[in-house]
């Protein structure tokens, strides 16, 4: 009988996220593990290279909290709401100093794909006419050995640790996801260590009943954490909606360093864990709990 990988968020972060690490907290709008980000801030991690396509609010918070030395990304905005001001202050004023390495969405996807496939780079028909390769000398080219066509290349990204949020997994880390998939699978396979955080822990038989839905196999997972509402203000399809109001309200908080510090003091440093964060804000569950839209079962018999 294999040993359970179930641990607390505190223990997972303590064991697997170290100062100076290259970290990915994945999820494209969907399934972004804010709970893990908050625990990283609480444990005072420093000098991290943080990577995501969109930093989203979670990396704005990590930058504002002083955890990050470098950001690897492709789009740093807060859609429909404004800017990521901690990110902008870091880049425009150097407070705090932040190295950036910038791609496009396709470039970031390609980096993770190379890492996941065990390749040193990934080719694309991309970047002709743009200034992105001027800004980032890691965007290079290669000549196709068959056609002579010049292709753009980006280097593989191999994170030290990737944190995945998902709807459910079993104790071995066999993880099932539905809704937007982002680059979760690629980031996990590219990574040295993987922490999976789930809304619900299920028995292995639930996983085996629908194997097409398994995105990440337990064999590459190091830790499994159960953290209901762990993605708030991001969302989990079938569990809770995105907190669009929070994203809009982030604009004035992010814009003012004093307000940002006050937010982190109250809702990150001032709570022990996600359960306490949720208990402090009971209206969240009432407002955002998901409706029901079940998919019909499929027959795997033969």
């Amino acid at each position: 009988m294999m040993q359970s990988k179930l641990v607390s968020m505190k223990d997972a972060i303590a064991a697997h996220v170290r100062d100076g690490d290259t970290v990915v907290i994945e999820g494209f709008t969907h399934l972004i593990c804010f709970a893990a980000g908050h625990e990283i801030i609480r444990q005072g991690r420093k000098d991290l290279t943080i990577c995501r396509l969109t930093p989203d609010l979670i990396y704005d918070q990590l930058i504002g909290a002083g955890c990050a030395k470098k950001l690897v990304f492709s789009w740093a905005g807060n859609p429909g709401a404004g800017s990521l001001h901690a990110f902008r202050r870091a880049v425009e004023q150097g407070t705090p100093p932040l190295e950036i390495e910038e791609y496009s969405h396709f470039g970031m996807v390609a980096r993770m794909s190379a890492g996941a496939a065990g390749l040193p780079f990934w080719p694309m028909k991309n970047y002709m006419g743009t200034d992105l390769p001027v800004a980032n000398p890691l965007i290079r080219t290669v000549t196709c050995p068959y056609t002579g066509v010049e292709l753009a290349t980006v280097p593989a990204l191999r994170p030290d640790v990737t944190i995945i949020h998902a709807q459910r997994a079993d104790e071995q880390g066999n993880t099932q996801v539905w809704g937007l998939l982002g680059v979760q699978k690629e980031a996990a396979f590219a990574s040295q260590r993987v922490i999976v955080v789930v809304e619900e822990l299920v028995d292995e038989s639930v996983i085996r009943a629908d194997p097409n839905r398994t995105l990440i196999p337990g064999m590459i997972v190091d830790a499994v954490v159960v953290e209901a509402w762990g993605a708030h203000p991001s969302y989990a399809q079938g569990y809770y909606d995105r907190d669009n109001d929070f994203y809009v309200n982030w604009e004035p908080i992010s814009r003012d360093p004093e307000k940002l510090k006050a937010y982190l003091d109250e809702f990150v440093h001032g709570v022990r864990d996600r359960a306490e964060y949720m208990a402090k804000q009971p209206e969240i569950k009432k407002r955002l709990k998901a409706g029901t839209q079940m998919a019909a079962g499929v027959n795997y018999g033969f």
């Binding site: 494209f28 709008t29 969907h30 396509l53 969109t54 990304f73 492709s74 789009w75 740093a76 905005g77 859609p79 429909g80 800017s83 990110f87 902008r88 880049v91 425009e92 910038e102 791609y103 496009s104 969405h105 396709f106 996807v109 390609a110 993770m112 794909s113 694309m124 028909k125 991309n126 970047y127 002709m128 006419g129 743009t130 200034d131 992105l132 001027v134 800004a135 066509v149 010049e150 539905w178 809704g179 937007l180 998939l181 982002g182 680059v183 699978k185 690629e186 969302y235 399809q237 909606d241 995105r242 669009n244 994203y247 998901a290 839209q293």
Partner: protein, 254 residues
């Protein structure tokens, strides 16, 4: 005649550009309104694809981000972002892409990266997202942007998404597969790329707008085609759909 706002005009004009059954890459804001308006009118079989991975999305509420959960529920397909960018976009399946940005220049190049120098920018903008590759690969690109001289400089500070001519080189010379930005839908009229030179020319004007007004809203000596089309304002049904069905809270129609 019913009064209408610039956003309503731009959404209606953009919607008219879409033919039934076309495959469109959608962003939030006015492009999203335009696509859903087109679906309700002449293009019920328009296929909406979001770079987040939702294919054939039919959102029941106005999405405020391209990763909204309403894009997933009831869609035809949800795929990974690797699949969206490689199998759909790079493989040439996207017929129309919508783009917008802080700066659009004389050649349709778009800047969403920095105002000023890259190493020490005056303003750090969000960056490319999927815009660079959309500009390269979509079979054609429609830009939606309000005119003002600072937003329409002769040359952008940074080329994020390539237009018709990048530092003197044409799209063909640079090996880009898609036609790039063919129209810029503004709040005063329409610019189209000249098929010979790639330069953006004024080809159509909206009701009650003077050509001089358009020319003074752009940061280069804007050339106009000899015959300018006069664009019809949004009709009653277009306005009803925009105001009552698609964006009743005026999140984007302001």
């Amino acid at each position: 005649m019913t009064a209408y706002s610039p956003s309503e005009m731009m959404s209606a004009v953009a919607a008219r550009e879409l033919a039934n059954g076309e495959v469109v890459f959608v962003g939030i804001g006015l492009p999203n309104l335009a696509c859903n308006l087109a679906r309700a009118l002449q293009a019920p079989d328009l296929v909406l694809i979001y770079e987040s991975g939702a294919v054939g999305a039919v959102p029941e509420r106005l999405p405020v981000s391209i990763g909204d959960p309403s894009l997933v529920t009831g869609s035809l397909m949800v795929c990974s972002m690797a699949d969206v960018f490689q199998l759909f976009l790079q493989n040439g399946k996207i017929e129309v892409g919508f783009l917008g940005g802080a700066q659009v220049d004389r050649w349709g190049n778009i800047n969403t990266t920095v105002i000023g120098k890259y190493q020490k920018p005056k303003v750090r903008l969000p960056g490319s997202g999927g815009a660079a590759e959309i500009a390269i690969h979509a079979q054609r690109v429609l830009i939606i942007s309000r005119l003002n001289p600072r937003a329409f400089p002769q040359q952008v500070d940074f080329i994020t998404s390539p237009g018709q001519r990048c530092k003197g080189k044409s799209r063909r010379e640079l090996g880009m597969p898609g036609a790039g930005p063919v129209k810029v839908i503004t709040d005063k009229g329409i610019l189209e790329s000249d098929p010979e030179t790639g330069e953006m020319l004024l080809t159509a004007i909206y009701p009650d707008v003077a050509v001089e007004d358009v020319k003074s809203s752009v940061g280069w000596p804007l050339r106009a085609r000899e015959h300018l089309d006069l664009i019809a304002p949004p009709g009653a049904e277009e306005l009803r759909l925009l105001r009552e069905v698609l964006d009743p809270k005026k999140l984007y129609l302001g």
